[in-house]
Point group: C2
């Protein structure tokens, strides 16, 4: 029985003051060691002013997660050591900080193994006093930790002494370390369970977990259940510090949490925002804040807004440009961008062709009015004519086909990039996951853009999001100063954009459903194929038509070359195209 255990219990009879903990749920810029440490120091100073004794940061908070191949630079690793030593030297007195960083693996060259550990460092009294290394290294989906890190060795137990004589024994775990409870998962992902080993072999007062856990739909409830389970099973209070902010395709949702030893959540940080979370276990359990979102759509929208805002900001852009087709995908992306960076920073470009319907213009203009964004209109007929004339000779005797459709898309993509180049705004591409899955999109055309904002959102969910936007408009903070005066307060997305049948409008009277199965069927097939890892046979067994399933499976396979050249897409599911999707292109697989 440890002395410190007592400090975390509700024993108001003692004269000793209970400890206060802080979680610095910050939004780091990848690689910005000096900036990240500066922001962390300010947070620590704020915590110190509020009497916090121990501050916990997310995983790798010095460099931001994921640093990826920046870790292959010895200079970068060296600079991290300098930055953390400098941070330690600047700490206010009487506060300890456990910060996520990397440590060199001194045995790598002689004994073998990767040259770094993914670590947590205790900073106290101006120094790095102790380091702890991550043991379970995720190497699946978007994670590549075996690429960089050695499996941690050494103690994960921190005995923290405070000047007032208090002491606390803490089990220090990093992200994946706490994701292998075989009772909770009913299987093992790794042979070891660091938490079980820690709690069986040591008399701990507290478990902490430094995390960089990316957002996915439904994941926060899973985390809450799992962490609560761990607190109960090990009979220990638990603090989970998660990164917030988006880095390329990955959105980190924050929502750091603390649980009492009986598994009750006693504190929860904000979702998709920085937060300095203060935790007093003796306050007792508070009701779970449900993480603040009324439905999946509300949460996804918040995620995508952060994803766009951070990509724009961290790539040092201020404004974005979006092609507005009058369709629902570009409407949703425009709404996300407006919420993310303000209507004054969003330019919508209408590029009608002879095949464009009248409503493609009126709907796009109505959307722009609702959002309060500026538009420009550039008809593409002159470029279409120039290309057609120039290609007429070489195309003699060939029928019109998808070539001419793609040309329209590429003319639009080139116009948007010209605007992006001239004005220095970032082009957002607007393809949804259903399209990207089956290749219903044009490479170097509508796929153009620095960020694919809704590339992980299936078409049916695009509809759900737009309907939700319209339902909850009054609660939204869409930054459409101009728009608010003009728009019908009940709608963000003009209803006609939601109700009309989707069309690429690349030839007369074209509808998506001429080329693709209905989206509810397509999305169900794609969900089973991509997220549930069903075989074609199993999808057919589940009730879908064989011909449709085989066609979809084939389309997904042959669209691989397009996806390989796609912009990074914001990830909101457990399996997105992008850094966690690694498929061969030149291949032959019988479905």
């Amino acid at each position: 029985m440890s002395h410190g255990l007592y400090l975390l219990n509700t024993q108001p009879t003692t004269a000793m003051s209970p400890l206060t903990f802080g979680v610095a749920q910050l939004n780091p810029v990848i690689g910005d060691l000096v900036g990240n440490c500066d922001r962390l120091l300010i947070a620590i100073q704020e915590f110190a002013a509020k009497g916090v004794s121990l501050v916990i940061t997310p995983e790798l908070s010095i460099c931001g997660y994921p640093p990826r191949d920046l870790l292959m630079s010895q200079q970068f690793v060296h600079d991290m050591q300098t930055a953390i030593a400098d941070l330690a030297s600047k700490l206010p007195p009487d506060i300890a900080v456990i910060v996520g960083t990397v440590c060199p693996n001194p045995e790598a060259a002689q004994v073998g193994g990767k040259p770094l550990f993914n670590s947590a460092a205790l900073l106290q009294e101006g120094k790095i006093k102790q380091v702890f290394h991550k043991r379970l290294l995720p190497t699946y989906d978007v994670f590549d930790e075996d690429r960089y890190f050695a499996v941690g060795n050494g103690s994960q137990v921190l005995t923290l002494n405070f000047k007032n004589g208090q002491a606390l024994r803490i089990g220090v775990t990093i992200c994946e370390d706490i994701w292998n409870d075989h009772k909770f998962w009913e299987k093992r992902n790794y042979a070891e369970d660091p938490v079980a080993e820690l709690t069986q072999n040591h008399d701990l007062d507290l478990l902490i977990n430094l995390s960089a856990s990316p957002y996915a739909v439904k994941k926060q409830q899973l985390r809450e259940n799992m962490l609560s389970h761990s607190a109960i099973v090990h009979n220990l209070p638990l603090i989970y510090a998660n990164q917030v902010g988006a880095n390329d395709d990955l959105i980190f949702d924050g929502r750091s949490m603390a649980f009492s030893r009986d598994g009750k959540m006693v504190a929860c940080g904000k979702g998709f925002e920085e937060d300095l979370l203060i935790i007093n276990f003796e306050d007792g359990a508070k009701p779970s804040p449900q993480n603040g979102y009324e439905c999946d759509e509300a949460e996804i929208f918040a995620a995508l807004v952060l994803g766009v805002r951070d990509y724009v900001r961290k790539c040092r852009f201020k404004q974005v440009v979006i092609g507005l087709s009058g369709g629902i995908d570009s409407a949703l992306v425009a709404a996300i961008a407006t919420e993310a960076i303000g209507c004054e920073n969003v330019l919508g470009v209408l590029m009608p062709s002879p095949y464009s319907s009248d409503h493609s213009i009126t709907d796009a203009i109505a959307l722009a009015n609702n959002l309060g964004i500026t538009t420009q209109t550039i008809p593409i007929q002159p470029m279409m004519s120039a290309f057609e004339s120039s290609l007429a000779n070489i195309f003699t005797g060939r029928a019109s086909d998808v070539t001419e459709e793609n040309l329209q898309s590429r003319i639009r993509g080139s116009l948007l990039m010209a605007i992006s180049n001239k004005f220095g705004n970032l082009l957002l591409s607007t393809g949804n996951k259903s399209e990207v899955s089956v290749g219903y999109c044009t490479l170097y055309g509508d796929m153009n853009g620095g960020l694919a904002a809704i590339a992980d959102v299936p078409k049916t969910r695009v509809f759900d999001l737009c309907e939700w936007l319209n339902r909850t408009n009054s609660k939204l903070t869409i930054k459409s100063k101009l728009g608010q005066d003009h728009r019908d307060s009940s709608e963000v997305i003009p209803v006609n954009i939601i109700t009309k049948p989707p069309s690429a409008e690349l030839k007369p009277d074209q509808l998506d459903q001429d080329s693709l199965p209905p989206y509810n069927i397509l999305d169900d097939i794609l969900d089973k194929l991509i997220h549930q890892h069903f075989s074609a046979a199993a999808i057919i067994d589940s009730g879908h038509e064989q011909a449709i399933v085989e066609r979809v499976v084939r389309l997904v396979k042959i669209a691989e070359f397009k996806r390989r050249q796609a912009a990074p897409g914001l990830k909101i599911t457990d399996r997105a195209f992008g850094s966690g999707w690694r498929m061969p292109i030149a291949s032959k697989v019988t479905p």
Copy 2:
């Protein structure tokens, strides 16, 4: 002392016949289980007819290497088991085969760990008789084996009994297993050395290694030295079976080898071609074939030819289209493509603008004549005018800048894609590594293409390759039936293409050297930065101007968003952009 040991020695006094081994150095199509097994069976039958007792295949030869996320499909893994069982059932009598495949890890769910092993299976007497699992799993550069595979357990010793009563004890290793001799490397990459353990604990007659080792410049000599060293150190004959063929960005060069126990190479398979290598150790050492290449340029050219040919073929294209600028990059790509698939299958497209020099046309035509390829010419002025007029309003008051240069490149890229779409030929992009490094290329413009043929070839090496092509023209088999009648026999690449200063010709009198350091300086900086992992400070210390180094480092960083959307590029160095280059985009790093 094993019985079999004797069989591998030169002891002509014995009445027993020495064993003959075969290496099936085949070119698999990724995922084509049925096709790969069919081709393997034909090879085995050929070996059987020649009296071969044991056939060894490269790593994962049933599915081809790398299968990447195809391994996440349970159906695919199941189909592999079916395919290999079927192959075993069809084997000729009296032959044994050791074939690369995957095996399920039965303990994964209960004990933890990845669900598969990377394995070698012994097929004999119609059955899968034994399996052996890879222990060292490369997870660096382009390799992601920890993503899919569990570390192998179980014996790596195969006792092979032949009907005639002969027996052989073989140490079975898979690729990386043999790459961790700490004496050879003077360090350890992994804590374990499977070869040392095998030879210390077992009385072996032979070491074999199933490999899928991708090509890089200078790598074959390294392999030869390392394998020879292993044979000597462990006093064992050694057979190394390497995959041949290109799969997306990776080129496998074959050149399987066998070494006697004194480290002499006794057999070597062809480079960049399929080969059925027959090995009789009693033949004694043959001189090293120097791997068949007179210089790095000859070898690189062979690699790129295979890379283009296989990508075209495995993606089921027959023809390619290339934009011919009159510059050296597109000239080299056209020569590679001509050699790869024949002049009748290569279309060159000239797209002059008002900024194009006269020689850009004459040089491109001269090149096409030398190669015997067809050309089309499409001036881009009409599209330039259409875009300029259409953008005039929105660009009012803005000076001409890189926007207009990029537009020309994007018009060309759209024309090439229109031709690709209409005629079903594959567009090859022509950017070299120097350009791609510093972003001297246009996304959705000259970067367009399904394959970036020379994306890993620095500009200085592009010159070297073209000069070598001209020097050795008479020895080449460039398939330019038409061209051979017309061209000056001393040149493939018109000399003016090599001697004129490089220019993008996107504005009047533009030269690459106006925007970039001289290529010999640029390439040296890039080599130190990318291949040698130097810091900016170390590059400056090595003698380069600070301002130039800092600019190059900055350009490399900010071009990341372009590279993320680049086509797969054929890898010929130890560090290429592409699947082995994983850098964040939205980041901030102080050089």
